[in-house]
Symmetry: C2
Subunit: 92 residues, 2 copies
């Protein structure tokens, strides 16, 4: 999963909020949908972007498709940002 995909995925407020909800517990697409004032297809697309970025995992259980957070890819992102923040060492 590329750093670019991760940053792109995180650049949308709906997707960030989805991740925040999934941090608490896994949810079905329908449950996630109810959290927002946008259509089911719109949420579905956001979920697809998150999945492509490797930020969530989904699995079907009967009629329902569950989504759960997969935070491991954030490690790379965290490192990239931390590296930018890192102080330049003064000479000596």
């Amino acid at each position: 999963m590329s750093l670019h995909r991760t940053f792109k995925a995180l650049s949308d407020p709906v997707r960030r909020e989805i991740l925040e909800h999934l941090k608490l517990e896994q949810k079905t697409a329908g449950e996630i949908n109810q959290l927002f004032d946008i259509s089911a297809p719109a949420v579905s697309r956001h979920l697809s972007v998150l999945k492509d970025a490797g930020l969530v995992r989904d699995y079907r259980k009967g009629k329902y498709i569950f989504y759960e957070l997969k935070a491991s890819v954030l490690e790379e992102t965290l490192l990239w940002i931390a590296n930018l923040k890192e102080q330049k060492n003064e000479e000596g």
Copy 2:
């Protein structure tokens, strides 16, 4: 500076690369421009987005405008991501 602006600013590869260069040393708009295969106005706009997000600071020195990294706003971003990664505590 909002988390949203920061994430939006970081979602573009050119802007991320600009920040990486500025981490090493401050540069003029023209110097930054030479690092990319896009027009000066395009780079100027990217710099403006970074500035609005609070990720860089600029100051004029004669004909030149210098840009330097201002990594402090990344703290909030880092915390947001770290919080997502944070393990849920098991009961007991």
